[in-house]
């Protein structure tokens, strides 16, 4: 049996051991907390910034990208792209970005009467990631619409990669540069049609008028009617049109349309002022260049109507 003194000593010794152990454990926890707390705090702050959208600044285009609205025909599956569309006279505009499976719609009232200028400015902007894809743009003016299968375009844009929605300009962001594409122009309602001879290039009056007004500040999306045999044969077969499209080398394509009873194809290009002015056609073809009409088989002037591509 222990005496009172012995038991007291034992009890106090055990109490001191317990206190020391508790102190050591507390110190250990404090050290661990000192190490992990900054990491946790950084994680919390990072998460907060991420959800507040601060990191989307990273998608801001670089200065080098902003100056170059590069246009090319290559198609890449991955694309960060923003498509802007606007019309001068507040035409109803619908922009569809098929590459992103993303659609933006902008609607406004068109107060201009039929025959007024319906110029659409389609701006295609893309993030600094150098990827391209096809963009589909639909512009409706009055009762007609312009549907453009735009070639792949690389430009600067602010598409938010994180949320998949459209671009959002923030304070301090540089506005994107716009590329104006003219695809129709009023010519007063008269018919505008000509049959070129071999080696001849005829620009429709509406195209010339548009070129005179906009010059190098825009590109022109036009339809080319090909003739051969000195204006005796209209070339509409797909393979010939495609071969000519490839030869031209600029943004171009062949569209096939159906007029209700039969289908036909035509060649279109998107060209600059100089490319149209110095159009280099083949010697055995005649070229009539005009803006496309909404119904390729009708006699309605393209100038007065909406256009379908």
């Amino acid at each position: 049996m222990k005496s009172c003194e012995e038991m007291t000593q034992d009890v106090l010794r055990r109490v001191r051991e317990y206190d020391e152990e508790k102190q050591a454990r507390r110190t250990k926890i404090r050290k661990a907390a000192a190490v992990t707390a900054p990491v946790c705090a950084a994680a919390v702050v990072g998460t907060g910034l991420w959800y507040s959208g601060a990191f989307s600044q990273a998608n801001k285009p670089s200065a080098a990208d902003q100056g170059s609205n590069l246009i090319s025909e290559s198609t890449v599956s991955q694309s960060r792209k923003a498509v802007y569309s606007s019309t001068d006279s507040a035409a109803e505009t619908t922009v569809t970005n098929t590459a992103e499976q993303h659609r933006e719609e902008t609607t406004s009232k068109n107060e201009t009467a039929s025959g007024e200028m319906t110029e659409s400015k389609t701006t295609v902007a893309e993030a600094s990631v150098q990827t391209t894809a096809a963009a589909e743009t639909t512009v409706a003016a009055n009762t007609s619409a312009v549907r453009t299968t735009a070639p792949s375009v690389t430009a600067a844009g602010m598409q938010s990669a994180s949320n998949g929605y459209g671009p959002m300009l923030r304070e301090g962001d540089e506005p994107p540069e716009y590329l104006t594409v003219i695809q129709s122009y009023p010519s007063g309602g008269g018919n505008d049609y000509a049959v070129p001879k071999d080696g001849e290039v005829i620009l429709a009056s509406s195209v010339r008028a548009a070129m005179n007004e906009y010059g190098d500040s825009a590109q022109y999306r036009v339809r080319i009617t090909l003739w051969s045999g000195s204006g005796t044969k209209n070339i509409t077969d797909y393979s010939s049109l495609l071969a000519e499209s490839e030869r031209l080398g600029c943004i171009s394509g062949v569209e096939t349309y159906y007029n209700g009873s039969s289908s036909s194809s035509f060649l279109w290009i998107q060209a600059t002022y100089s490319e149209l002015s110095d159009f280099c056609g083949r010697a055995d073809y005649g070229y009539f260049i005009t803006f496309p009409s909404n119904d390729q088989s009708s006699t309605q002037s393209s100038c007065n109507s909406g256009v379908f591509y």
Binding site: M1, C4, M7, T8, V11, L12, V15, Y18
Partner: protein
Amino acid sequence: MDNGAISYRRFRDDGDESGIAEIIRDYKDGLILYLTSIVGSVQTAEEIAEDTFVLLGTKKPRDKGGGSFKTWLYTIGRNLAIDYIRKNRKRTFVSLEDSAELVSGEAEVERLYLRKEQQIAVHRAMRKLSSDYQQVLWLVYFEELSSRDTARIMHRSVRSVESLLYRARKSLRSQLEMEGFDYEKL
């Protein structure tokens, strides 16, 4: 507030180690003998009593009030003893060599705590009764606790304690008579 509570408060609040020393001095032997009635071994009871004081020193529990410090201390000791029994239910073996030592150790505590021969004889007769009888008899007759305090320590109702005490006394009487003591004179 009794002396034990004052000493404990001095130790708990001011860190005065003499407070726990006073508690050990005042309550050690009585607690050991009470715990012996539960665990059946003085040495084990001594260990549990030491654990009780260590628990007071480390956890520094607070008495919820409603009883004396002694009642509270014995309640803690009893809970620890029951925990011990629960954990060591399958290994309560005592060798024959140790048993003699145990008996001598208990006798020493008895001698120190009870002092009177008559009380020692009664305590030895009690040791042959069941644990509950031993506990209630010890708390009521040797520690001189009220039925209410006894009930609090044993986690029973007052009525149950009184009933248990009645049966314990009856059993003790027959035990003493068997050993040749005259119960009425005790």
